[in-house]
Symmetry: C2
Subunit: 204 residues, 2 copies
DNA sequence: TAAACTGGTAAGCAACTACTTACTTACTGC
DNA sequence: GCAGTAAGTAAGTAGTTGCTTACCAGTTTA
């Protein structure tokens, strides 16, 4: 009796497959994930995968699209939750951190694509997402500058780079230690420093 | 007539091979580098590689050792060039930037190893290097704090994370754009912000 | 001068990977 | 209730990868 997995709609399977890829990214590194590995992680035959994605590249693209939609939605929601732009930046910082804690495979997957020097469609997608991320930040930074909340001659471009870079530093530290447990706490400490880097000096 | 490559000492070949790996890292991503690719990049037979390194893993380890020795030497030299700890931090920041500009394959290679979630000896080596990097930074930060140059309740641990993270952010941006041309300039802008994040506020 | 060593070649091997093919089984609409 | 389709299996295939083996030619050394 050849035990067949319970039939599922392509839509449901695609979601399941994407989730499996991100789970595997967290536990074994995205570069070494094989279609075989994905299939057996879900309890499916290797061949069955290709009923739902034509190629591995198409699957990889779907993963990026999922991350893009999920992350950007949360970041925008966090930003729009606050009227004051600096409060919005803090909310974005923490929302990003919490997303990484919830999905530890995501940064590994994204870094992996960014590393590819060839101008693959995958890398272009990721790069596109980062452009929109910067736009989100720039809008709040410009708003804050208009309010007079920022240092007079602050380089807003460099400030955006530092924002994203400090998140990367936190993520890398978490990857090194192997757990994301304390990340929320560390993120608050790092953002506090970032905040004092961009804010206009207050009379104490 | 089977054209044989000119004989070279193992030591010379090892250096050549390591350089080739880093060059390939810059142009094609470390995860996709094959022993075949390395061999033909030097103009050597595939089999000849294994006269100089027993396994690919041993070669990878040698690359990390090379990076470790080169980078840490430069960073310490830069730091020891300045008496004032904040000047030393700036010198380290720029020395690191210049090293990445000179060897664009290095950050790709290092990131690739950090991504591996398994506790491989490779990852352990990299993680060890980063511990020593943090020690270098912490020493200067503590010195600066003792001089009263830093903000009163600055979290030195978070400050070190932000230092390394901002470098990573710069590197990532350069990787996205595909060239490291403007990196030195961007690094100066980012460090200026970092500096104002940690320095005690001056009466203007 | 012969023996040992060293760095090179060329060919092959076992394992693995993405993907295909031929076939089976369950669900759905008419 | 049955035809068509969608989701599954099992086996294969072609290409690649890390590494080995057998052999060869200079150089060093005893």
């Amino acid at each position: 009796m050849p035990h067949t997995a319970d039939r599922q709609s392509t839509q449901a399977r695609q979601a399941e497959i994407i989730a499996a890829v991100l789970a595997l990214s967290a536990s074994q590194g995205p570069g070494t994930i094989t279609t075989q590995g994905i299939a057996s992680a879900i309890g499916l035959t290797h061949g069955a995968l290709f009923k739902h994605f034509p190629t591995k590249a198409a699957l990889w693209l779907a993963v990026i699209d999922w991350v893009d939609a999920q992350l950007m939605t949360r970041l925008h929601a966090a930003a729009n939750d606050h009227d004051h732009p600096v409060a919005a930046l803090r909310a974005v910082f923490m929302a990003h951190t919490d997303f990484v804690v919830a999905h530890p495979g995501v940064p590994r997957f994204i870094f992996n694509e960014l590393q590819q020097p060839e101008d693959s469609p995958l890398k272009h997608r990721v790069s596109d997402m980062l452009v929109r991320y910067r736009q989100l930040l720039q809008a709040r930074l410009q708003h804050a500058a208009a309010l007079g909340a920022l240092r007079p001659r602050l380089d807003l471009d460099a400030a955006a780079t530092l924002f994203i870079g400090s998140l990367q530093g936190l993520v890398m530290q978490a990857m090194l230690r192997g757990d994301t447990a304390d990340m929320h706490h560390a993120a608050e400490a790092v953002f506090a420093i970032y905040r004092s880097a961009i804010l206009v000096e207050l009379a104490s």
